[in-house]
Symmetry: C2
């Protein structure tokens, strides 16, 4: 398997995701709400979460129409969280994915509403109306499973809870365990859910399910460690967002806690743990998941 | 059926809803997030939406454990929308249900996160983990149906879309059709969904389903007309929120459009339409739904 093979696979997946999001994020929602939603989610971002979902679905031979919906739903949750995170009462950021943030472009109230509507839309996408042909839709039990996984990842025990800890931790010393707990929720929960929602689209035994959870946890944490590394080593124009914010805000990071070199080494250890988990899973084709674990730690933005 | 019978029924339903919300809204979510969520949703509000869900479930002989979850989920969506609506970038309100609003009490960022986590929690509540006894849970197909109804009511085509129109309409003349369209989404969609989610918990034929949709639309609109009436006729201490805000904000209302007496008459016509729809539904016991339609137009707060 070459880098070109991965790029071809990922390019095809992202084209499908972009096409679906373009159809499902409404252009005609009232009072420019749809315009703000589309601005927030279309044509931007690394799309790591949808790729994780589709790579996991590939590994388990998952139902394609379900995994595409799951991939778009996780991206909608991720994109809504960025819109709310960037608002003046949170991180007060003006630059995201190289563009003005949603509240800078559309105003604060429309940004809050667009985020709220995007969270709802994620669950709409997971519960398609029954078509005349039942084989063209997602089985109801799978719809329910996907909604449950996504809601738990997005809510108080996951992303929103992690953001609350993050808010409360500015200027306070956190030890590595507390920092890990925060990131386990804040970014880890949705990354893990991206993997598990893809896995739910196929038949997986308990051992493979557990192995994929370990994989999801490892790359989730690795992603955050690398985020902290990039925050101090990369310029804003490369990142597409404001660099150095964590240091400026006196937020605890893996770099401030471990130092730059140890943080980088830790990310590579986590990648190795992810690879080991895939090997243990005994799933038939985990090549894309393995390469995504590499991408997570090798990325430069 | 006497008023005392209704009060006894409603009291028992509300005690059950309060008990479930007390269990399901986490006290232990990190960094006071759970405290803010509980403050926003427990011990307050008229609980009209849960009562509509449980009355509709009663009318169709719906599954009790499902209708209780549906009732709590719609209330969580309603309560989160109030938290976000009250924020400085939206209505900038300081008083709600007779208490300081969530952002006044906890700060803006915690209020936004609490609202976000409450929306996610609504979908968690609708997708309970599988217990050892399958009869003690909500069938997966019903979970999916309830998630789909709620997501569509909360999102761009429903509540969030209506709020976007509302924001864009301040100081602009709206005709009755536009005002109706806004309220159909902003408050109507969730009130209608409250009824339909209750109906989904039982077996309903297409004719009864349609009749309940008409009932839901009628009381949804009647609720808003009466809201506009109360905004000009009641004092803040009675309403538990700031009165006269719509007039002050130069927002279009049914009262500004029709005059006070005509608005009141319109609300009573809508109640009559709701009663007619129930009669057409041929459902076995619509007495609570009928009395709730009366309560909607006869309320004084």
């Amino acid at each position: 398997m070459t880098a070109a093979d991965f790029d071809a696979w990922a390019g095809a997946q992202l084209a499908a995701v972009e096409d679906c999001l373009g159809q499902w994020v409404p252009a005609d929602a009232p009072a420019h709400l749809g315009t703000a939603m589309r601005y927030a989610v279309l044509d931007g971002g690394k799309r790591l979460r949808p790729l994780l979902t589709l790579a996991a679905a590939h590994a388990v031979g998952g139902l394609r129409i379900a995994s595409l919906r799951a991939a778009c739903a996780v991206e909608l949750i991720h994109a809504y969280s960025l819109v709310h995170d960037d608002m003046p009462c949170m991180d007060n950021d003006v630059l995201r994915r190289g563009k003005p943030t949603v509240h800078v472009k559309f105003g604060e109230a429309p940004a809050m509403l667009a985020g709220d509507a995007m969270q709802a839309l994620a669950f709409e996408v997971l519960t398609p109306d029954a078509p005349s042909n039942p084989e063209a839709t997602v089985p109801a039990a799978l719809q329910a499973k996907l909604c449950g996984l996504l809601a738990r990842a997005a809510g108080h025990a996951g992303m929103a809870g992690g953001q609350a800890i993050d808010l409360a931790s500015v200027g306070r010393p956190l030890d590595e365990q507390s920092l890990r707990d925060m990131h386990h929720r804040k970014t880890g929960a949705l990354l893990r859910a991206s993997v598990m929602m893809g896995a739910a689209c196929g038949d997986v035994d308990a051992a493979a399910w557990s192995a994929l959870e370990v994989y999801g946890n490892s790359i989730g944490l690795a992603f955050q460690v690398i985020d902290d590394v990039l925050d101090v080593t990369q310029a804003s124009d490369k990142l597409g967002k404001t660099a150095g914010k964590d240091v400026d805000a006196n937020k605890p990071t893996y770099v401030s806690l471990m130092g730059l070199d140890a943080a980088r080494r830790h990310a590579f250890e986590l990648r190795d743990q992810a690879h080991s988990a895939l090997a243990r899973s005994a799933l038939r084709d985990t090549v894309w998941l393995g390469l995504l674990a590499d991408k997570v730690v090798e990325r430069d933005r």
